[in-house]
């Protein structure tokens, strides 16, 4: 009986861990932001968008995705968001399905890259958390990806450079 309960509990926990992250839990993060980019694209919207893409590489990557979520905020002065506002996402990423592959902490800046490896050797998701004193960005991509896709995503891929609503720090050309 106890064994059955444990199995049920483990199953329920696994099912819970499989559920997507609730981005509403990050709403507080951008409450004081002066500029923000808030993008939520679910699987159906991504399929619709893919139909209008001309670049085959991007199209191939996008058709396998289930969701793309971006939260990017810029603040007028430091201290306008709390590290604890990021806690729900960090807690979600600490589940066994996710693996942190980059964790850079410098002064008041942190960069984290999380991957969700699948048994097939592919990836089930990618998450990036970049936090600085006056800006914070979250990228969360769900769906099947290959490592090479991430390489492609960090390359040009025919995606135009963008002017993020930032102070010039963020430019795709910087390096």
């Amino acid at each position: 009986m106890t064994k059955t309960l444990w199995i049920l509990l483990a199953g329920a926990m696994a099912a819970f861990a499989q559920q997507g992250f609730d981005f509403k839990s990050l709403d507080k993060l951008g409450a004081n932001a002066t500029e923000s980019a808030n993008i939520t694209l679910d699987g159906n919207t991504l399929k619709l968008a893919a139909a209008f893409l001309s670049d085959k590489d991007v199209k191939d990557i996008v058709t396998k995705l289930k969701g793309v979520y971006i939260r990017s905020f810029e603040f007028a002065k430091p201290g306008q968001y709390k590290e604890s506002d990021l806690a729900p996402l960090r807690a979600y990423l600490k589940s066994p399905q996710w693996m942190k592959i980059v964790d850079v902490k410098e002064a008041e800046e942190t960069s984290e890259i999380w991957l969700r490896p699948l048994a097939t050797g592919e990836l089930g998701g990618l998450a990036i958390i970049s936090a600085e004193t006056k800006e914070v960005s979250i990228v969360f991509i769900e769906g099947t990806l290959r490592m090479s896709d991430i390489g492609k995503l960090s390359g040009n891929l025919g995606i135009p450079d963008i002017d993020l609503p930032k102070d010039g720090k963020k430019s795709g050309k910087k390096e």
């Binding site: 993008i39 996008v62 410098e106 993020l164």
Partner: protein, 99 residues
């Protein structure tokens, strides 16, 4: 024969052929029905338009939604790229410092 005689002969009064009045009346009855035809056409056109216009509007809206989604996706991928490049840059800086 002079031309006057020809004209006179051509324009002379002749009795109407038998049943002419009945035939004219019959045609009159038919022409009374014809005004209904444009109405039928108009109704058919309205029905066709009612069927076609919503489809067109739906297709237009879907297209607009798709273009909007694509633009958002391109922006999202561009932000992803920037974040990946920044992370890569930071790793390089930290590695250089440690070396």
């Amino acid at each position: 024969m002079s031309i006057e005689d020809d004209l006179r002969s051509a324009l002379r009064r002749e009795p109407a052929p038998g049943g002419f009045g009945a035939r004219v009346l019959a045609k009159t009855v038919k022409t009374e029905a014809t005004p209904r035809r444009p109405l039928v056409f108009a109704l058919a056109a309205a029905l066709a338009a009612a069927a076609v216009i919503p489809t067109g509007v739906y297709e237009y809206r879907e297209r607009q939604r798709g273009i909007e989604a694509r633009d958002q996706l391109v922006q999202a991928l561009a932000i992803t790229r920037v974040q990946l490049q920044q992370a890569r840059g930071k790793i390089r800086q930290v590695t250089k410092r440690r070396l």
